[in-house]
C-alpha cells in the first residue's frame, strides 16, 4: 500500500468511532500498546522530539532505499498518535515521505481533539520524520 492508501485505511477505521470519544481513545490506546518499541539505546536526549508535553523518541533507518521509523513515548495516547504516524510513513521512499500531506490527522479529528500543546508535538513529530527522510535522500 502506498501512503495515500494507508491514510484512507486509517480514515475508514476511525469513521466507526464518529461521535464516540471513548471508543476512539480506546483504539488509540490499543495502537499505542502495539507500537514497535524503539531500541532502548535510541531513547536518548538526541532523539527526543521537542514540543511535546510528554516525551517522544524517534529513530529512523534507511534499508534498501526505504525509510523505517521506530518510536516511543512515555504517554500512551501520545504513543498511539505516534503509532499512526509510523504506520503511515514507515517503509516508504524518502520522496514519498517528504511529499505526504498527512491530511488524515484532521479527518479523524485528532488535531481538533488534542490540546494545542499536543498538536504542536504532533507537528514537530511529522516535521522530524520528514527531515530525517530528507537527510536520507542524499544517500539513496
Amino acid at each position: 500500500m502506498n501512503i495515500a492508501e494507508i491514510e484512507k485505511e486509517i480514515e475508514e477505521e476511525f469513521s466507526f468511532f464518529e461521535g464516540d470519544w471513548e471508543a476512539k481513545y480506546e483504539h488509540l490506546i490499543d495502537i499505542g500498546k502495539f507500537l514497535p518499541l524503539i531500541d532502548t539505546h535510541y531513547r536518548t536526549e538526541e532523539r527526543l522530539i521537542k514540543g511535546c508535553q510528554s516525551q517522544v523518541w524517534l529513530h529512523s533507518e534507511l534499508k534498501n532505499g526505504k525509510v523505517y521509523f521506530t518510536a516511543d513515548s512515555d504517554a500512551i495516547i501520545t504513543k498511539g498518535i505516534v503509532g499512526l504516524l509510523v504506520r503511515v510513513l514507515s517503509g516508504h521512499t524518502p520522496d514519498e515521505i517528504v511529499d505526504a500531506n498527512m491530511d488524515f490527522i484532521d479527518t479523524i479529528g485528532l488535531k481538533e481533539h488534542l490540546s494545542p500543546t499536543r498538536a504542536n508535538g504532533l507537528v514537530s513529530m511529522i516535521r522530524q520524520m520528514k527531515l530525517d527522510a530528507l537527510a536520507f535522500k542524499t544517500k539513496v
Binding site: Y25, E26, I29, Q53, S54, D74, A75, I76, I77
Partner: protein, 414 residues
C-alpha cells in the same frame, strides 16, 4: 448528592455561579467542570462589566490630564489602588505598585532591590517548591551579579524544612523569596512564623501570594512581609495586571526598574529626577482598566467574605481528597496539614497527560505537567502531576464528576 446540599448554607452557589458566565459553557458536549483555577480563574460579570464600561464611557489616559474624563479615570484608578491597599491591609496606598502580574512584580524587586542591596558573594534564598517565576529572576540576577542562590528543601509531605531554613539564613542572605501557597502541592506555608525567623536574622522577605490571594485573607502588616506580590487574573480579575506591595522603607530607597513616561518629576538631558511612590515604578501608560477590574474582583470576593471562601474551599478539598484517594493506584502529591484547595495526584503506571486528555474528553478541565515547578517534580522523581485546583464557585457535585471521570480514565488506560 447529600454532600452538595450540605454546604448550600455556607455559600449561595447557585447565585455565585450565575455571576460567572463561562461556567455555563459546554466542552466536548458536556457541561464544563472547571478545575484549573490555579492557572487562571474565571471572571464574574461585575469584572467583565467594569471593563466594558471603561471602554464605553471612561477611556482616557490617567494622571496629568486637565480635562474631565482624564481626571475622573485618574480618581477611579487611584481608588482601585486604595481597594488593593485595604484588601492587603497595607499601611499606605503608595505601597501598592500596579504591575503586569506576579512575574513582573518579582522581576521588579529582583532588578531594583537587587541593584541597591545585593552584591557579589551575597546570597539569595528561595525554596524547592517555588514556581519558576520565583526562581528565574533570582537565578538570573545571581548569574549577572555574582550572587549565590540557595534553596530551602521540601519534606516528603510537601512542607518547607524549617530546620534547614534556619541554618541557611545567614549574614550573607540579603533576601528570602518564598511562596505563600504552593501552586503544585497546595501547601500553605506558615508565613508569619517564617518571616519572624528571617527577620530575627535580619533578612527581608518577598512572599509570592499568587496562589494565596484568591483563597484566603492576607494582612501584610500582620505578616510583616517586606514584599508581597500577586496576579489579577488568578484572583478573578483581568489578565495583565498584578500587584507589588512593598514596605515604604524599601520602596523609597529602591531605584526605578523600567523608566519612561509617568515616572518622573523633571527631565533634562543632563539628569532626571524621578517621581515619588508609587509612580516611580509605573512606567508608561498602565493597564488602567485592569487595575479597576482587579479592584472590582477583590470587592466581589470580600462581599462573599474571605473567611467563608477559605472555609468552603477547605470542605471542597477535604471532600475531593476523600473521594480521589480511594481510587486504586492514585497517590496524592502534597500532603501538608495546612493546604489550600489544590489537589495534585499521580496514578501508578499512567502518564498525567493521558489522564488529563481523557478528563478533557469528559468536560473536566484540569492541568497536567510540571506546573512550572520542575525542581519540585525532580524532588519527587515524577514527570508531572494531574492538578485539580478549586475556587469558591466549584461544587461538591463537580468533585463527584471529577471522581467518576478519573475512574473512567484509569479503566481506559489500565
Amino acid at each position: 448528592m447529600e454532600s452538595s446540599l450540605k454546604h448550600t448554607s455556607l455559600l449561595d452557589l447557585e447565585a455565585i455561579r450565575r455571576d460567572f458566565p463561562l461556567l455555563s459553557r459546554k466542552v466536548n458536549n458536556k457541561p464544563l467542570v472547571y478545575l484549573d483555577n490555579g492557572a487562571t480563574t474565571q471572571k464574574p460579570t461585575a469584572v467583565i462589566d467594569a471593563l466594558t464600561h471603561y471602554y464605553s464611557y471612561q477611556n482616557s489616559n490617567i494622571h496629568r490630564g486637565v480635562h474631565r474624563i482624564s481626571q475622573d479615570i485618574t480618581v477611579a484608578y487611584e481608588k482601585a489602588r486604595e481597594t488593593v491597599q485595604q484588601h492587603l491591609h497595607a499601611s499606605y496606598p503608595h505601597e501598592i505598585i500596579f504591575t503586569k502580574g506576579t512575574t513582573d512584580s518579582i522581576c521588579l524587586v529582583a532588578h531594583s532591590f537587587g541593584k541597591k542591596y545585593i552584591a557579589a558573594g551575597d546570597e539569595i534564598l528561595v525554596t524547592e517548591m517555588e514556581h519558576h517565576s520565583n526562581i528565574l529572576p533570582w537565578q538570573q540576577f545571581c548569574e549577572n551579579n555574582g550572587a549565590v542562590l540557595k534553596v530551602v528543601p521540601v519534606t516528603d509531605e510537601g512542607t518547607l524544612d524549617l530546620i534547614v531554613l534556619e541554618t541557611l539564613l545567614s549574614k550573607k542572605t540579603k533576601l528570602f523569596a518564598f511562596t505563600h501557597v504552593s501552586n503544585t502541592l497546595g501547601t500553605i506555608n506558615p508565613v508569619k512564623e517564617i518571616i519572624a525567623l528571617a527577620h530575627s536574622k535580619g533578612v527581608p522577605v518577598l512572599v509570592d501570594g499568587a496562589q494565596a490571594v484568591p483563597h484566603l485573607a492576607v494582612n501584610v502588616q500582620e505578616l510583616d512581609a517586606d514584599f508581597y506580590v500577586f496576579s489579577g487574573h488568578k484572583s478573578f480579575g483581568p489578565t495583565g495586571v498584578g500587584i507589588l506591595y512593598g514596605k515604604e522603607k524599601w520602596l523609597q530607597q529602591m531605584p526605578p526598574y523600567q523608566v519612561g513616561g509617568g515616572t518622573i518629576k523633571r527631565v533634562t538631558f543632563a539628569k532626571t529626577e524621578y517621581a515619588d511612590l508609587p509612580l516611580r515604578f509605573e512606567a508608561g501608560t498602565p493597564h488602567i482598566e485592569g487595575g479597576i477590574g482587579l479592584a472590582v474582583a477583590l470587592d466581589y470576593m470580600n462581599n462573599i467574605g474571605m473567611d467563608r471562601i477559605a472555609e468552603y474551599e477547605h470542605e471542597l478539598l477535604v471532600y475531593a481528597t476523600k473521594q480521589l484517594s480511594v481510587i486504586p493506584g492514585l497517590r496524592i502529591i502534597g500532603e501538608a496539614k495546612n493546604k489550600a484547595s489544590v489537589l495534585s495526584f499521580v496514578i501508578d503506571g499512567m502518564h498525567p497527560n493521558d489522564i488529563g486528555t481523557l478528563l478533557d474528553q469528559q468536560g473536566v478541565a484540569v492541568r497536567t505537567g510540571h506546573h512550572c515547578t520542575q525542581p519540585l517534580m525532580d524532588r519527587y522523581g515524577i514527570p508531572g502531576t494531574v492538578r485539580a485546583s478549586f475556587a469558591f464557585y466549584n461544587t461538591m457535585a463537580e468533585i463527584d464528576i471529577l471522581e467518576t471521570a478519573t475512574r473512567k480514565a484509569v479503566k481506559m488506560l489500565a
